[in-house]
Amino acid sequence: MSILEVVILLPVLAVLAVWLGAPARLVSVGSALLNLVILLGVAAKYKAAAATGGLAFQHARVVLENPAISFGVGVDGTALILGLLTALVTLAAVWQISDDRPPMYHIASQLIAGGAFGAFLCTDVFFIYAFHELALIPTFLMIALHGRADDATRKAVAWKATIYLGAGSLVLLAGLGWLVLEFSGGSKLTFDLIALREMAQSSPLPVEKQGVIFFVLLIGFGTLVSLFPLHSWAAPAYATAPVPVAMLHAGVLKKFGLYGLIRIALPLLPQGPHVEWVQKAMLLMLLGNIIIIGLVTIAQKSLDRILGNSSVMHMGYIFLGIAAGTELALQGAVLLMFGHGVAIALLFALTGRMRNQFGTLEVAKLGGLASHAPVFSILFAFGAFASIGLPGLANFAGEVLIFLGAFGYDGTATVGPLQWTVILALWGVVMSAVYMLRAYRGIFQGTAATGLFMNDPSFSQRVPLFLLAAALLVVGCCPWLLLDFLKSLSTTAAVAAM
């Protein structure tokens, strides 16, 4: 039994325990903490354990012989970083659930976490897909049942997200099915990612076909990551979702689409993103995320909408890294996935507190919070500045690597579509600064509006928030801590460069 199976199993066991009546908070926080510790241990041993191809802690149980489906687990650098992200955000999310919430909050959060762990740590396409689907159900249910809006609105929002993500998943299923069938040699069909990778290396598909399949996968995965113009479910869903669900979905589960592109689509279809029409379409869509949604975000008046839209916008940078496909850009993309996940989880956690306190999140109605809740406002500043991409925080390292990697300056580079996209995308950083700093000034500085008062969080409530802020700072100052795991991406890049 691999230790990774324990990681996937723990949240499921926690759900069962809570369902059977165990003290929800204790079990939930305990299992999340245990998972974080286990994954830190895995990270420490990863280097020594990683076999060729960068996979470590592998283990597989055969579920079906033909088509070959096995419950296989294993981590490469990308999976490990996302596993750490999941553990970190899960701990923070379940910790900050207050005691007056029904146990359903813990059950749903742990189910989402379990699904995310499964999706990130499995090495079988079937289970990767299945676990992600599993995590979506509690997300919808929580938005529909405990969403922070009136009954009709939250149901409408939940259905919108369900239909978008359901349709995206079906497109994804079609793309994955196609991919698997293309690679199935003889009469045997396999869903095993490792076997598929070997086949892709020994006998790659024709370039044009790679482009088509990659595009189908891009639409499928892209819908899950709110790629423009398939993004409109995201902002209302995050504004409505209960805090832990918003943290877990925006912070962790949404990264699944990007993870799938990096771990499944790129290695199997290395030429896919470089087929001309695919590349142009992808660049246009991600510019839509950065520029159009950036402008939309500036126009928002309410903090939850600003955060929801900004989260859509920042996905554009990660797509840029994937579109470029160079080692540097991909490392940046993974790093930014981590940074964005932590930052947005922190911001949603803080925003949830504000909503409980004030009942509104409209920037114009708030003000001067820094004077009576200094710790709170500093924590918020961490999240906001990380989102902008301030040096010293995790997102900066990711964004810089993406921009450098995508621009590909080696003294001879010509200015092609990719380079123009980078130049335009840089303006996104400015837009992020505009809306984040404006929101920060409006809410935390100036004089407090009458009747607005909030205390700093108590010590125990601070712990998860500080944990997230510390992660941003540590990774921001020492990005090599994570980048060291990503050496395996170079093999992908080598294939891509062929």
């Binding site: 369902w19 579920v63 088509p67 676990f131 069938l181």
Partner: protein, 487 residues
């Protein structure tokens, strides 16, 4: 002990129970139920240990009885669903007593046994005569069962509709059999396949026969455009009977359909491609006409009726890919696998409807409001059942759909595939909506369920999860031998 004697045992038991009820007035409902359930359970155990080789059959049965993998699978299937239906009948006590005052429901306990024997024989049929006799044995028993709750106007309506359409479809079926016999000069599937492979066969006449045969069977399995009767009949019939219709009768129709299609689409058949097109178009249409109206249903029993129609569509699509034998399963065994996944989730659905009705509520969606607060266990089981019906990964329903979809992609039937995808997408909506209702709404008085019911629920939920995560055993039962895999 051969399988054949188990079938005889079931008939004897069924007829014996009918006589017992008529002649021994002191026998209670409980006693009747115990004999029936015990008998069916005994039959299942005996079946498990029985000698399932064709050689064990008595000599007189050899000419009209076969025992291949599919036959054995469907026989076991018939026994399991019969057992489940008898259990549902036990659970439906209040409903049945309300609409048949004073009765002991003897027919409800004996007729399913006879139906079961009919279905088991049908699975082994080698010729159209046997098929017809068995189908009638099953259908005539169902005429009685559907109209059993005779004081309910819904049940009477259902009974009349089922009687008229059942008789009509029988007529169509016989007409198709007659044409097929006229063209091929044979009643046995083997002979039909042989005759159709000869190039001199009158193609149009053969097609006419095939079309009528498929139409007649289409009524039995609730395939479009012969599905109009389904929602009304399903809604009106008592829950156990609806479950039996939805699972048992459908499976019976599909084993016959499998045999017929195998004969029509055998190697070199002159009408193979036409029959395949009929199956694919019919299947795609059935999926759509089952799924899309389901979106507008507010009554859960009607919802399950439409769900049953759309599942028939996926099954037809599986048969439409009969020629592929990848994944160790060919089209026929994919259909059988699908039915294997369909059984636990549908029975679970009807068991939950029955339990809620037993508690004095109805079948409408609002009767399920707040179920999560009244009985979280029941709501959890229902969520799993509906998730599986919708085909969410790691449940049995997903595995069934996966094989059907893979078959369609494999054979590049893109139109059928897109209809199937639309149906599945609609399914996410109409199956998950009742789940949402269960988790919202005001709490009411707690809904208590007895320990045996709870055990059955756990069993069904377990089956859904096990097949969903570890389908290998079920696939193994149906595995096509390598030799016949390339037909």
């Amino acid at each position: 002990m051969s399988v054949f004697s188990i079938e005889i045992l079931l008939v004897v038991l069924g007829v014996g129970l009918l006589l017992l009820e008529a002649l021994v007035p002191s026998l209670t409902r409980r006693a009747l139920a115990s004999i029936s359930l015990g008998g069916a359970a005994l039959a299942l155990v005996l079946f498990f240990f029985a000698d399932k080789s064709a050689a064990a059959l008595p000599a007189f049965a050899q000419p009209f009885h076969q025992l291949d993998t599919l036959a054995v699978f469907y026989k076991g299937f018939a026994l399991v669903i019969t057992l489940a239906v008898l259990w549902l009948t036990v659970e439906s006590r209040a409903y049945l007593e309300r609409y048949t005052p004073g009765g002991r429901h003897g027919e409800m306990f004996s007729l399913p046994l006879i139906v079961c024997a009919g279905m088991m024989w049908m699975a082994s049929a080698k010729d159209l005569i046997t098929v017809f006799v068995c189908l009638e044995l099953v259908t005539v028993s169902f005429y009685v069962l559907v109209a059993f709750a005779r004081k309910s106007s819904f049940a009477l309506e259902a009974g009349v509709k089922y009687l008229i359409l059942g008789a009509l479809s029988t007529g169509v079926l016989v007409y198709g059999i007659a044409w097929t016999y006229g063209v091929t000069d044979s009643m046995s599937f083997e002979g039909i396949a042989e005759a159709l492979a000869a190039p001199a066969t009158a193609k149009n006449a053969a097609l006419l026969g095939a079309a009528f045969l498929l139409a007649g069977l289409g009524f039995k399995v609730a395939a479009a455009p012969f599905h109009i009767w389904v929602p009304d009949v399903y809604q009106g019939a008592p829950n156990p009977v609806t479950a039996f219709l939805s699972v048992g009768s459908k499976a019976a129709g599909f084993i016959v359909l499998t045999r017929v299609v195998d004969a029509f689409m055998a190697k070199g058949s002159v009408i193979a491609s036409e029959v395949q097109a009929l199956l694919l178009i019919g299947g795609a249409l059935t999926v759509l006409l089952g799924s899309l109206p389901a979106i507008f249903q507010t009554n859960l029993k009607r919802l399950l009726a439409y769900s049953s129609i759309s599942h028939a569509g996926y099954l037809l699509l599986a048969l439409g890919c009969a020629q592929t034998a990848r994944f160790d399963l060919d089209g026929s065994s994919v259909a059988a696998f699908y039915l294997g996944t369909y059984l636990p989730m549908t029975v679970l659905g009807f068991l939950i409807l029955t339990v809620v009705r037993q508690a004095g509520l109805g079948d409408d969606a609002q009767d399920f409001a707040g179920l999560a607060k009244k009985n979280p266990f029941l709501a959890f089981a229902a969520t799993l059942g509906f998730a599986s019906l919708a085909g969410i990964p790691l449940t049995a329903g997903f595995m069934g759909k996966l094989f059907v979809f893979l078959g369609l992609v494999e054979n590049a039937h893109w139109f059928a595939l897109s209809c199937a995808v639309i149906g599945a997408a609609a399914g996410f909506y109409y199956y998950l909506r009742p789940v949402l209702v269960m988790f919202t709404g005001e709490s009411g008085p707690a809904l208590k369920i007895a320990a045996p019911t709870r055990a059955v629920l756990v069993l069904l939920a377990g089956a859904i999860l096990v097949i969903g995560v570890f389908p290998k055993p079920l696939q193994g039962v149906l595995k096509v031998p390598v030799a016949s895999a390339t037909k």
